[in-house]
């Protein structure tokens, strides 16, 4: 799977979890706007990221949810329970799809139907609101003037013009100013420009004077590309679609190429010439005009501006251009300032009206807003004004002000109100200083009302086109360092393995010290090695505990699912239940936490289904109508304890006894004589469920034994107390971490074998005569108790040593709640090891819990006594 998709799945799951929790929270407290915003943002993120992949169903459904949340957020709709139900359903579906996505990396198309079915009721709340927001695009940057065309060689321009004039072909002018940092995102602007369809002319220049070579930063883009292309405008727009803020595109007729260039002669006055030329144009006396142009051209220096202008006139005459082109050039000669094609085009476009005008407007500012755009503009202004009035945390005030101003600024630019930009900036600074946005709000109110009039008065020439510069806020935001890392668990596991190896390597140092002393007789060296060992030992231990910390996560991670579970189940069963969760922040190893989820949910279901009585019954019993379930987690020395307490009817001991006897789990007499406490423990036996009726919630008879097994799998224990009529109390005790296991090493056939330390009760040495044989079983007396005896060699199918009178080493362990003596060859020391489970082909050897590496490099097997005995 691509890392991007994997990340999307992981993140979306987190977001969905947060969303579900949030929805439950606002169900009880619909006024909590912060929470609603939080949910909206999470959903928005999922929708946005989903667009990166071919997963239309997710996008469709999440989008519907997002739209609904958005209206809730803006308080256009009031929240009701049905919405929460539908939203929860939708997110459940998305969660399922994520599972499918994780397995197959794609979503079948038929899911789209499901997505539409599920989103229809969500959309129904929205009424006839449009599903897509009609937000106008960010104002497109435009050219301030076209004088820059002059830097292109006159001859080149002339050739191009000659080719295109009169053909009706249009040119696209572009100015591409790449972002200074663009090289870092892998862009090559020059390459991009070379791709331009029908690239005709190109000028490459620095955006600022070249710095001295010694101070230059090669990876800071300083270039600006300006040019003319004859390819279709749409294709150019497509080419530059990824750099919309860095590109200016303008579609023009080829006449814009007519820009006289050269040295200006301040003293020269061509009024007479221009007047004469004009009259000749009026008379359409082209030959006459050609004559005076040639005459003046002969007397002008070729580099002079006027010569350039005359040459253009000559070319136009040669191509029998319309006077529409000649006149602006003559006008320019009069003022000695190059024809302002931008203004001329605009004016002619306005005169002409119709599609050409619209076309022109589409690519240059200022634009007359269409009715729809105008509505959107007013909506934006009103919206910003509303946001400005909403309460906000003091630390977020400035940020909000800046973003609002950025939005308004962009809208103003789009609408062509560039003259207001300065005022806006002033008001923004004032507001920042005084922390009072009153004046700004005034401007907004004015804008919202007066927009209509402005629109009428707005003349195109009033505004100067500007490039939109991206606002600075996002850049500032990115600089904040990310302080949380998401790391693949395998990497942490690898680190853990390495530390394990370090511990092993470290443990070989004492052996080395011994050798130095015994073999080489060097005590000083031995001492020094031991000192070094002490240092390395300390570091290794710190390292180990540090990596444990990395793997720790709060149990709240599992608890998050509870509110939803309780809500859904209690609704289904018509019970009223309050869930009280405490100690979510208690931490434990990730594997343990994850192993905890299913058992806990099972326990909770049992409590809701069997424990808590229906409201009427509770009232009859004099209990509060609402049942309560408390989940409490806390750290208890080296372990984590989780208590689940309910105030329901408790476990029916008689029913358990009866059923256990009927199922043959215990004999009838045993069932009779057992204490209540012991009888209740029978619910952990496989195949026992006390309710007669099997519901779809719990009670399939696979319940509590699964809970016990999965808790024991992660090295924990379960204890249960129940009082009839008062409730049940379950306590799970779990180790903080599974990484380090305490084992007691014993010797068997000269090899060490590990026994989990938590099972070991004591060690005794007894003469063979102290062993009783009862039939073919053996036992011995230990402090007036008969303890059954097993021989490890026999359990492991190894040959027995020759019988001798030497004392037997007996390890007394507690397995399945009973003491058992185990005969081993000898005892060794207790040690801490990193237990690696048996893998692959050896995985099926259940007699062994795993292997551990020892300090001298040898491997020790750790036996699984629960399986062996």
């Amino acid at each position: 799977m691509s890392p991007l998709l994997a990340q999307f799945i992981a993140e979306s799951r987190d977001q969905l979890e947060m969303t579900s929790a949030g929805l439950l929270a606002i169900e009880n407290n619909p006024e909590d706007l912060d929470k609603l915003n939080e949910i909206f943002r999470a959903v928005h993120t999922i929708k946005g990221s989903s667009g990166l992949f071919e997963i239309r169903p997710v996008t469709i459904l999440v989008h519907a949810a997002e739209d609904l949340l958005d209206t809730l957020r803006s308080q256009e709709l009031r929240l009701d329970r049905r919405m929460i139900d539908l939203l929860l359903d939708a997110f459940d579906q998305v969660n399922q799809w994520l599972d499918v996505l994780e397995r197959t990396e794609t979503l079948p198309d038929e899911f789209e139907t499901t997505a539409r079915t599920l989103s229809a009721p969500l959309r129904a709340f929205l009424g006839n609101r449009p599903s897509e927001e009609a937000a106008p695009a960010i104002a497109a940057p435009t050219f301030a003037d076209l004088d820059w065309l002059g830097q292109l060689l006159e001859d080149d321009r002339a050739i191009l013009y000659a080719r295109l004039a009169g053909t009706g072909a249009r040119l696209t002018l572009f100015r591409y100013t790449p972002d200074a940092q663009c090289f870092f995102s892998g862009e090559d602007p020059f390459h991009l420009v070379r791709q331009a369809p029908g690239l005709e002319l190109l000028a490459i220049g620095p955006t600022e004077p070249w710095p001295p070579l010694t101070e230059m930063d090669a990876y800071q883009c300083l270039l600006c590309f300006e040019g003319v292309a004859s390819g279709p405008f749409a294709e150019l727009a497509t080419l530059f679609r990824y750099v919309p803020d860095q590109i200016i595109l303008l579609e023009t007729p080829p006449e814009v190429l007519i820009v006289p260039t050269g040295r200006h002669d301040a003293d020269a006055d061509y009024t007479g010439f221009v007047a004469e030329a004009r009259s000749l144009v009026d008379q359409e006396d082209w030959d006459g005009l050609r004559g005076i142009v040639d005459a003046l051209l002969e007397h002008s220096e070729p580099e002079a501006w006027i010569a350039s202008a005359l040459r253009w006139l000559r070319r136009l005459l040669d191509q029998s251009a319309a006077d529409m082109t000649l006149r602006p050039l003559l006008e320019a000669m009069h003022t000695q300032q190059g024809p302002d094609w931008l203004a001329i085009l605009r004016a002619s476009a306005e005169e002409a009206g119709g599609p050409t005008a619209a076309e022109f407007h589409a690519s240059t500012a200022p634009r007359a807003l269409t009715v729809v755009e105008h509505k959107a503009f007013q909506h934006i202004i009103a919206e910003q004004s509303r946001i400005l009035e909403m309460p906000v945390a003091p630390e977020a005030w400035t940020g909000r002000l800046l973003s609002i101003c950025a939005v308004i600024g962009n809208s103003l630019r789009y609408a062509g109100h560039d003259q207001l930009l300065e005022e806006l900036e002033e008001l923004r600074e004032t507001a920042r200083e005084t922390r009072d946005s009153g004046l700004l709000r005034g401007l907004l109110a004015q804008l919202a009302e007066a927009e209509e009039d402005d629109r009428a008065e707005n003349t195109p020439a009033a505004a100067t086109a500007q490039k939109t510069k991206p606002t600075e806020e996002p850049a500032g935001g990115e600089k904040q360092a990310i302080k949380t890392l998401k790391i693949d668990q395998h990497k942490v596991d690898r680190l853990m393995d390495l530390i394990g190896e370090l511990v092993v390597a470290k443990n070989s140092l004492p052996y080395l010290a011994q050798r130095a002393e015994r073999v080489y007789g060097n005590r000083d060296l031995a001492r020094e090695i031991k000192e070094q060992y002490g240092v390395i030992n300390r570091i290794a231990q710190d390292l180990q505990s540090a990596i444990m910390q990395v793997r720790m996560m709060p149990v709240g991670h599992v608890f998050q699912r509870f509110p939803r579970l309780v809500r859904d189940l209690s609704k289904k069963l018509d019970k009223k239940i309050q869930l009280i969760v405490t100690g979510e922040e208690t931490e434990a190893d990730k594997n343990i936490i994850e192993g905890l989820a299913d058992p806990l949910i099972h326990i909770l279901r049992n409590s809701i289904d069997h424990g808590i009585e229906p409201p009427e019954e509770r009232l009859l019993l004099g209990k509060p109508e609402d049942g309560s379930i408390r989940v409490k987690a806390y750290q208890d020395n080296d372990s984590v304890a989780i208590e689940i307490t309910d105030d329901g009817r408790g476990i029916d001991v008689a029913a358990v006894r009866d059923k256990a006897a009927r199922r043959g789990l215990v004999s009838a007499e045993q069932a009779e004589t057992m204490s209540d406490h012991d009888a209740i423990q029978l619910i952990f036996a496989p195949g026992l469920s006390t309710t007669e009726q099997v519901s779809d919630i719990s009670g399939r008879g696979v319940g509590m034994d699964v809970v016990r097994t999965s808790i024991e799998k992660v090295g924990g224990t379960v204890t249960l107390h129940s009082q009839p009529g008062k409730g049940t109390d379950l306590r799970l005790t779990l180790p903080l971490s599974m990484a380090v296991t305490h084992v007691m090493a014993v010797e068997l056939d000269n090899k060490p074998l590990g026994v989990p330390m938590d099972l070991v009760v004591e060690t005794v040495r007894l003469p063979p005569s102290a062993i009783y044989s009862i039939k073919h079983r053996e036992a011995f007396m230990l402090r007036d108790q008969l303890v059954p005896l097993a021989r490890l060699r026999r359990l492991l199918n190894m040959s027995e040593p020759v019988a001798s009178d030497a004392a037997l080493a007996i390890l007394v362990v507690r397995v399945h709640g009973e003491n058992v003596g185990i005969v081993v060859d000898d005892f060794r020391e207790g040690m801490e090891v990193i237990l690696k489970p048996m893998e692959g082909v050896l995985g099926s050897l259940r007699q062994y819990a795993g292997t551990a590496l020892l300090g001298d490099g040898s491997v020790m097997l750790v036996i699984n006594l629960k399986e062996l005995i």
Binding site: F190, R194, P206, L223
Partner: protein, 80 residues
């Protein structure tokens, strides 16, 4: 390596990528009269282009690639 820098001549070949820009800049900083041969060059990255422009280097052999030569050479001829 597409850009081969010798005593005072740098030879460009094929597509010259962004990684070449920094070594080239350093080379140019030490050269009083640097010359470049672009004959076999088919494209050079914008970063290289701007370094060449800033250094106002002399191009002794323009690219054979007509397209590249057309857009590149005017930029490398110091207009001002």
């Amino acid at each position: 390596m597409p850009v081969e820098m010798m005593k005072n001549v740098a030879c460009f070949k094929g597509v010259c990528t962004v990684e070449e820009a920094e070594p080239l800049l350093q080379w140019l900083q030490d050269q009083q009269r640097a010359k470049v041969k672009l004959k076999e060059c088919t494209h050079l990255h914008t970063a290289i282009l701007q370094v060449l422009m800033a250094a106002k280097v002399m191009v002794t052999l323009p690219p054979d690639d007509p397209d590249l030569a057309r857009w590149l050479m005017p930029a490398l001829k110091n207009r001002r």
